[in-house]
Assembly symmetry: C2
Homo-oligomer: 270 residues x 2
DNA sequence: AAACCGAGTTTCAAATAATGGAACTCAAAT
DNA sequence: ATTTGAGTTCCATTATTTGAAACTCGGTTT
């Protein structure tokens, strides 16, 4: 995982702590954070204090545990509106989901991870935050691979190298070379599949949402199971999904969506 | 609005900038942030740089604007799971919403503001982040007043004083004294109303979700309009809502929910 | 009962990072 | 060609962060 906080001073270090807490997925004790932390006790302690004061963490004095703070929920609300494709894409996603009768995902790339920003579950009603905000590996999901396929080589290379490839299923692509071949194929076709690479029995087709400049703002996927459908079956939906992707791209252009979304200026100089 | 960042060093200041950007509700230019900022150009510039590097803000080089970053969405996902009542309360909220056939809200308090963490819309399907994460004033909403009513005087006093009371409707309580009277009544009854105090035509009943220690973890409300219903009508639902509130409180206790949620140690000493 | 332990907290001089006034760049407006 | 204003960089000064060590305080062991 790329070290995001490299060289970003105190703020970067503090935010890194937030990520750590998030990674636990449950309330954590101070000591749990301490081991595995690059910072000495007193330093980490002050970070955690500050973050708690700031509402970015919440502290349970009884159990002496820290959890993610609700201020984040408020900030994310703004983020979701300002910076995600979700609000723009909503009507298009609704329509697509209804027509194809399968689960539809909308995802964006965040620091080499797939971030799901919206979801339409054909049958069930939507599950709020439980799905939006969820992250997953990029290299073994339909949306992930499709977005990687349209990344600049300069950004892609370090991601592929630093990635640790976990074999989720027997179909998972587990090295950079295999993935590179796959990405080339995706660029050629304009769409990609998940061939049970992440979960057995789960397949999907995914298409990028491309800017005029050919950059992927995000991706849409239609997911199914091997029982209900097949890759060939999903492939038939490509034109319909393409239409949605184009529509979303068009609206985002009008709405002035950045052509390059996350900017990483300041090339490392140390 | 209480200055949260008081005395929290660089991290606090940087996070304050995040709030500013969030407040705009749209991508902002650097200059827009600059005026009204307590920091000189160079300083603010570095904050924004750092936050952008960190993925907490995203930068659109073409339009030269900053927006909330998607990393927040990921962090909030964790926050919502770990620190909000929403996942715990979900089934209870579902049941309540279905039975009463009106819109149900679940809210928590964040820095003297009401933060909606979940919502059930009787008719319409749920709107993802668009409702969860939304904030509102505490002093003129049902959930807000109910939570304020169970706050410790030491925490309540500064909130009531520092609050700027905007008259949203002719029924809005616009000073601390009126609000104090109202809060006393709420503690007496165990529930409170919104009598078109925030929006004309919109009324609701709200009940606190109380810990054994008598602290409000959050609040539930059932909302309606004056056309469809009345305060008396909503009052009839109190026992049913009470039941839900108790159930949620019970589950959170089992699940080990903090009795005091946001801790503000470190009393100002400068 | 005294000593010990380990988690959490506080202290303070040294080390480091943040600060902000001023100067610079560059594109657009005059 | 000149002005203007937004955005960016520089760097000596200043304030904050750092982290080793010491302390507190339940609970446990000797």
């Amino acid at each position: 995982m790329a070290d995001r906080s490299a060289g970003d001073g105190t703020v970067g270090k503090a935010l890194e702590v937030l990520d750590r807490v998030a990674a636990f997925g449950r309330p954590v004790r101070f000591t749990e954070l301490l081991d595995g932390s690059p910072y000495p006790k007193a330093t980490l302690y002050r970070f955690v204090q500050t973050l708690t004061n700031q509402g970015m963490l919440s502290y349970d004095p009884e159990r002496q545990t820290y959890a993610m703070g609700i201020r984040l929920v408020r900030l994310a609300h703004a983020a979701w509106h300002q910076s995600s494709l979700a609000p723009i894409a909503r009507p298009h996603l609704d329509a697509l989901a209804e027509e194809v009768g399968e689960t539809v995902h909308l995802a964006q790339l965040d620091n080499a991870q797939v971030l799901y920003v919206d979801k339409r579950n054909a049958s069930r009603p939507v599950e709020m935050f439980s799905s939006a905000g969820k992250v997953g590996p990029a290299y073994c999901t339909g949306v992930g691979k499709v977005m990687l396929a349209y990344l600049d080589e300069a950004i892609l290379a370090p991601i592929l190298e630093q990635q640790s490839y976990h074999r989720f299923t027997e179909h998972t692509l587990t090295d950079a070379d295999a993935l590179r071949t796959e990405l080339r194929a995706i660029r050629q076709n304009g769409y990609g599949f998940d061939r049970e690479e992440h979960e057995p029995g789960i397949i999907c087709v995914a298409l990028p949402i491309l800017t005029a400049g050919g950059r992927a703002l995000g991706a849409i996927s239609v997911t199914s199971t091997v029982e209900r459908n097949s890759l060939a079956g999903l492939e038939k939906l490509v034109p319909r999904i393409q239409e949605t992707a184009r529509a979303i791209a068009a609206v985002s252009r009008d709405w002035g969506f950045p052509d390059q979304h996350t900017s990483n200026r300041q090339v490392e100089t140390n």
